[in-house]
Amino acid sequence: MNWFRVKTPIRARHPESFVEEITMVVLLVAEELYTALGDEVTREHLYLQDVLFQAAQVCFPDVFYPKIPSPGGIEEKPQRRVSAQFAARIASYPEYGHKLYSIVEPLEWGGVSTTEVLPVPDSTTTNQADSRSIRQYLFLYALIESHVTSLVGFQSRGTSLSTEAVEEVLRCLRHSGDSGRDSAEMFQKSKKLPRLYYLRPLQISLIRHIIAGFLTDRVFGRHGLDLSDGLVGGLTFIENSVVNRGKFLVCWRD
């Protein structure tokens, strides 16, 4: 792994990007550990998620450590103390800790408010963003429909699927993911695949269905995009830990 490739962009970015970068590092380390240790990775994962959580504490100090007004009216600023804890903690981790330390050590810690770098969007911008995502989603499926209709138009009517082709489609679907397996089960039991394919309007619907399932499994799935099992396991563990503990602390603050 090229640690310097990760280190360089961190310095120039704001804390949100830092969390992303440190997460990437942790994920890469998690994958390496999975490869090296197999099932014995649980204890190491505890270290990994702890590193990430500590990083989040440093990047979002006003969420995790709200400023407490002192009797004299001057607010305490605990960020520097947190950063020292964080630096000491990650430096104590064997194997990869010193590498993480070398990455985060040059940063200027503390003093950055979450709301300064991550302004909460007002209702107007939220609605605009919402409609933009939904438009993109609708555009995607309109694109699929128009392309499939166009491609099917190139085929002569009455084209049928061979037995081998039916088997290959079912095999691909089973391999794709949950949605694909569900479709394969339906086509296998009902024997409807050849008949659906034979009639042109239904053929278009069938192909749209198969592409939609492919995207659901391979792109939109929880951790789609062909990630390895180790990386998915590592991410799930880290994400759940960060989210659960983060929520707990935010609730505690309120």
């Binding site: 970068e21 997460t23 995502s133 989603y137 694109l143 339906m186 062909d226 990386l231």
Partner: protein, 120 residues
């Protein structure tokens, strides 16, 4: 915010070195079986913009404050007017063929777009 940062990191990690030849090849392979008489270059010119558009949506959806995700309708599910819509006045009985997955918010599962399905 932290959860989104984790997800964006994952997405960047994914798109930087995976999205991938595998996804393009598998989709192209599937389409070549389904459309055997279509020239290869047409199939390829279909797969690329579809995957690009899908990735664009995914990145945008993950950046939303509420985070969106598509939901799939399985073939045995009962018809549910709140989460599905069908063309015309179809009989509400039979296997479901999901043509467009629905869209919902990640955590509270509020339906933003109903899934578009047909009944077989």
């Amino acid at each position: 915010m932290i959860e989104q940062a984790v997800r964006r990191a994952l997405l960047r990690l994914s798109s930087s070195h995976v999205l991938s030849e595998d996804a393009h090849l598998e989709l192209s392979h599937l389409l070549r079986i389904l459309l055997p008489t279509i020239p290869k270059h047409l199939v390829k010119s279909f797969a690329t913009p579809i995957l690009d558009a899908a990735l664009s949506f995914k990145m945008a959806a993950m950046a939303e404050p509420a985070m969106y995700r598509p939901f799939w309708i399985k073939h045995r599910q009962k018809y549910d007017d709140h989460r599905m819509r069908i063309p015309g006045d179809a009989m509400l009985d039979g296997d479901i063929l999901c043509l467009i997955p629905g869209l919902e918010t990640q955590h509270d599962q509020i339906t933003l777009l109903k899934a578009f399905v047909m009944l077989l």
